[in-house]
């Protein structure tokens, strides 16, 4: 069923009795050409691009819970491509271009809103760094604009510009950045993949890999054995647990990241802003809540909840940036589990086991990468070679010293 303005009006007149479920609930088949583990944003996007771009129809996505119940439903919904390094920027710009055409591609309203993102500048050194970053972005075909304090003040007059310790001196703007309705991304990809024949199998937990003579031939699941020509893993947060079943140790630690929503307020923030002196980023959802977050808690965790010291730290960042946020009450806060990699960048690669492919290590930047991650992982699964924009995301970069360390922190996952 194709969605359109016409069908909305037609259904409104017929009492909304004609809507069909957006995807089927099939029983798993004996064997698929490709099985994708993980029904989150990246896994569903992979299935969509495998079917639509690369022509693979005999594909299954298996998910231990319900689709979109993990990090794709737990993030702060920001999209952007403001990275510095060559290994990253072309990939994230590819992703942003896919976001721009996503709704037409999926025939689904994902509420892609290019409301712009501004990274604030608080010192001369930071202005130099952001100037360099902006130039790197432009060289890679992205957009970037350096603003002085007066230009920022026109758009965000309520920020704390004259803070004695962290005055706002300007900002690096990316106008094409913005926010997306995160759940709709999972649902839209699921619906599109399903309509191309992909089986989405929920409540189906992987309990082991079937590996014969160094080749992965299927997965053991809570709903029985499922054979596969190739298996792709996209379970960021739980990558260590899953790949442990294949005997792999990863350059990844699992950490908890918290996010927050205030009570609903009248329209206040026109776009996304990030505080450059601490770690705080905020946007306003279409329902009116201020959606914000900051640092990860900093210790290994698989609990989808964090602790209070980081809540205090994030709220202090908010108070330093826009003191009026202190008048808003916090409505909800939650945690999600991140694959924190050793250099802060992701991995989309084959493993040493034939037929077993890995997509993970997204740290806390996985949401904006969803379309490109799916596209590049589908490319790797379909053609057995990396997509041109994802050639740097290899397992062996740690062994060979080709780290992609945006923040320059070294092999300390909780600092990225």
């Amino acid at each position: 069923m194709r969605y359109s303005g016409f069908t909305v009006i037609k259904e409104a007149l017929r009492g909304h009795k004609g809507w069909k479920p957006a995807w089927r609930d099939p029983e798993p088949k004996q064997k698929y050409d490709i099985v994708i583990i993980g029904g989150g944003g990246h896994g569903l996007a992979t299935a969509h691009y495998l079917a639509k771009v690369y022509g693979f129809r005999n594909v299954a996505v298996i998910e231990k819970g319900w689709i979109g119940g993990g990090n794709v439903g737990r993030n702060t919904t920001i999209i952007r491509s403001n990275y510095l390094l060559d290994g990253n920027e072309p990939f994230y710009e590819f992703s942003l271009k896919l976001w721009e055409g996503l709704e037409q591609d999926l025939n689904y309203n994902a509420m892609v809103s290019q409301r712009g993102i501004i990274n604030l500048i608080h010192s001369d050194a930071q202005r130099d760094a952001f100037t360099r970053r902006g130039n790197a972005m432009i060289l890679n075909g992205a957009d970037a604009e350096l603003l002085d304090a007066e230009q920022v003040r026109k758009e965000y007059p309520f920020l704390n510009f004259d803070n004695a310790r962290f005055p706002i001196k300007g900002g690096l703007a990316q106008r094409r950045g913005g926010t997306v309705r995160h759940d709709a991304v999972a649902w839209g990809y699921a619906r599109s993949a399903d309509s191309h024949g992909v089986d989405i199998i929920q409540n189906c937990e992987v309990t082991g890999f079937h590996i014969e003579n160094g080749r992965c031939v299927g997965v053991e699941t809570s709903r029985g054995f499922i054979g596969a020509g190739k298996v792709g893993c996209a379970v960021a947060g739980n990558s260590g647990r899953l790949m442990g079943m294949a005997g792999m140790r990863l350059p990844i630690e699992s950490h908890v990241l918290q996010a927050f929503v205030s009570e609903g307020l009248k329209p206040l923030l026109p776009g996304v802003i990030t505080f450059g002196a601490g770690h705080f980023y905020v946007s306003q959802s279409d329902k009116g809540g201020l959606v914000f977050g900051g640092d990860i808690d900093g210790y290994n965790s698989y609990a989808q909840r964090g602790n209070l010291p980081v809540v205090e730290d994030v709220c202090e960042g908010g108070m330093a940036l826009m003191p009026m946020i202190g008048r808003a009450r916090l409505l909800r806060m939650w945690g999600g589990i991140m694959d924190m990699s050793m250099d802060g960048s992701p991995i989309i690669d084959r493993t040493h086991i034939d037929g077993l492919y890995f997509n993970g290590g997204w740290c806390y930047g996985g949401f904006k990468a969803t379309p490109a991650s799916g596209h590049c992982f589908a490319h790797l699964l379909a053609k057995d070679e990396p997509h041109p924009t994802a050639t740097a995301y290899r397992f062996d970069r740690f062994r060979t010293g080709r780290m992609i360390d945006e923040k320059g922190m070294g092999n300390q996952p909780n600092l990225h």
């Binding site: 260590g240 442990g244 350059p251 630690e253 290994n300 092999n411």
Partner: protein
């Protein structure tokens, strides 16, 4: 989280800095034949368990001692706290 410091008693975890897996105590021999391989393993690969995890915490806002904390990564429950120097000596290190 409250960490039961062996010398100072209960301390809030926000006084500490987290380093990572306690296996980082066992630094490989840099002169060994396979040093490049063992250091790759040591520096980059992690067990990352869901459940009990032994990890290094540094009491930066306190007595600046290194601790080995045994903590459950699913519940955040701390079951054991040792001085890292004691653990290192038990593993045959001189300090």
């Amino acid at each position: 989280m409250i960490i039961q410091h062996p010398l100072l008693g209960p301390r809030d975890s926000s006084e500490f800095v987290y380093l990572g897996d306690a296996s980082l105590i066992d630094r490989p021999d840099w002169q060994a034949e396979n040093a490049a391989e063992t250091f790759y393993d040591y520096a980059y690969l992690r067990d990352n368990p869901a459940g009990e995890n032994r990890e290094l915490w540094f009491h930066e806002g306190g007595d600046r001692s290194w601790l080995v904390v045994t903590r459950n990564t699913v519940t955040h429950e701390i079951s054991k706290v040792e001085l890292a120097c004691d653990v290192a000596r038990m593993r045959g290190r001189s300090k």
